[in-house]
Subunit: 144 residues, 2 copies
DNA sequence: TGTCAGTTTGCAACCGGGTTGCATGATGGG
DNA sequence: CCCATCATGCAACCCGGTTGCAAACTGACA
């Protein structure tokens, strides 16, 4: 993807660029790890929770960002770094949730394996999250 | 697995069989689809929410049942039908969540694809849930 | 069989993520 | 410049999940 401003990214996805949307997308593009709504709330103190909520939904609907559940109890959001405006599910990477330190990792190198479903199912998105111990915590904990 | 009573199943997993635990496991073994805590609550009217909650956790800890997040917002539970008392992740089937009718389907025939993670990660469990439209709803909705 | 410690359960209250209604504020087209 | 429309903040709410505590139960031992 060519270098472009946040505003251009929004417009490319057909989203009317407002201050809130620029700020949220900006923040998401800065962060190197997926964040929850609550984390965004603390990052963007000036912005109301409901605004963040609605902004994230707009970004999601227009496929400017992804969301997924990692089992931490709160949905995580991350910017979509696809070339095109539509991001195919097989291009998305998997995530790892550490049950010890409760951090969520992007495993950029590993893409979501796509299975074949029985006739009739229409796939919209796939959630592939591995849970366990991250390398750091794994070292500290003995093998059972 | 040989035919055995719910009580025996509990004991096989090292769980002290109490009335509540038998009822919950009983109910889970009857149901053919994964259920949320709330659904269990309505199924088992006599039992308190907190009891169900704690019971599910006991069953989970002892690997008598599985849980997973389907993106509906509430965790789903289903009985573990593995031969052995430990259920390997590659034997588990995937789930499909219909965004239209909000039902969760077991796709028994399709097992969770297991990926290789970078050095250091210790895998405990994998959540693989496909979201989209189920065959029924797919028929009713035009292709975009 | 009675007693006691440890376990299980129900009740009530709580927490926090997510969601909504409503009123105000910004925006862009005519 | 004005109005319709969209975006935002505020406050309240909903609901799944969680916890503290006291009462009920259970099982081991005397």
């Amino acid at each position: 993807m060519a270098v472009e401003t946040i505003e251009q990214q929004l417009q490319a996805h057909g989203i009317h660029p407002t201050a809130a949307r620029i700020l949220v997308l900006q923040k998401l593009s800065e962060l190197t790890h997926p964040v929850s709504m609550t984390e965004l709330e603390t990052e963007l103190e000036t912005m109301d929770k409901s605004t963040i909520f609605r902004t994230l939904n707009v970004l999601l609907e227009h496929h400017a960002i992804h969301s997924f559940e990692d089992g931490s109890g709160s949905t995580k959001y991350e910017i979509c770094r696809c070339e095109s405006t539509v991001c195919r599910v097989e291009n998305r990477h998997i995530h790892f949730y550490c049950e010890e330190c409760r951090r969520t990792f992007c495993i950029e190198d590993v893409k979501i394996p796509v299975v074949a479903l029985p006739e009739g199912y229409r796939i919209e998105t796939i959630n592939y999250t591995v849970k366990g111990l991250c390398p750091e915590c794994s070292k500290r904990k003995p093998i059972v």
